[in-house]
Amino acid sequence: MGTLSAAVKASGSALAAERTRIEVALSNIANASSTRTADGGPYRRRDVILTPDNVNSFDAALGKASATGVRVAGIVEDTEPFQQVLDKSHPDADPVTGLVQLPNVNTQDEMVDLLQAARAYQANLAAVTVIRDMVARALELGK
């Protein structure tokens, strides 16, 4: 694969992946207090699993060096236990104990993830732009 086309594929793959992370972080933040989901019970935090993704499967299969992109392997639910808060006035509080189960979401952590994903998105977008300019310059040699 042409070197720069491999590079742009790798950088481009990160745009979709980081955008997914942004969306999941936003969803977690929006549902940080949701005690009643459609399936019943509190909202469970979701996590994005990232895995490296060889840009050129042929080169990779032949054992040659290949550009490494990234791929969302899956979006999974965080198995950390729900938070338990004592609040008898809450509509979803346990009638006996008065405990409310809240989503296992830490809003501050989600904000950090959100900002990191946004910054990574911008960095990869910058890379795509740089590569585009490099290719344009290389083509100039033919003029």
Binding site: M1, G2, T3, L4, S5, V135, A138, L139, L141, G142
Partner: protein, 99 residues
């Protein structure tokens, strides 16, 4: 109509195709051989350029490699055509000489 100008252009040519020309300036056979070598050079560089451009299009090769190959093919062809033209002119000049 200075051959020196052509020699000047040779400086920019990797492979130094014109080396054969200056060495064998001594006879008709020398000219024919040199011209043959020049034409071979054109075929070779044109073929390499085609390969490089195809590789670029297939995402199998780099853009700058294709551009450099194209430039090399272009200069080889230009040089060859100019040398050929000079040879033809020289031949015609000789033929016009009164015996």
């Amino acid at each position: 109509m200075s051959i020196n100008a052509i020699a000047g252009a040779r400086l920019a040519q990797p492979g130094n195709i014109t080396q054969g020309l200056s060495k064998s300036a001594g006879g008709a056979d020398g000219f024919a051989q040199s011209l043959g070598r020049l034409i071979e050079g054109v075929e070779e560089t044109t073929g390499a350029a085609n390969t490089a451009v195809t590789d670029m299009l297939n995402k199998n090769g780099d853009v700058h490699d294709a551009m450099i190959a194209l430039h090399h093919a272009e200069t080889t062809l230009q040089l060859t055509v100019q040398i050929r033209n000079k040879l033809v002119q020289a031949y015609q000049d000789i033929m016009r000489m009164p015996v």
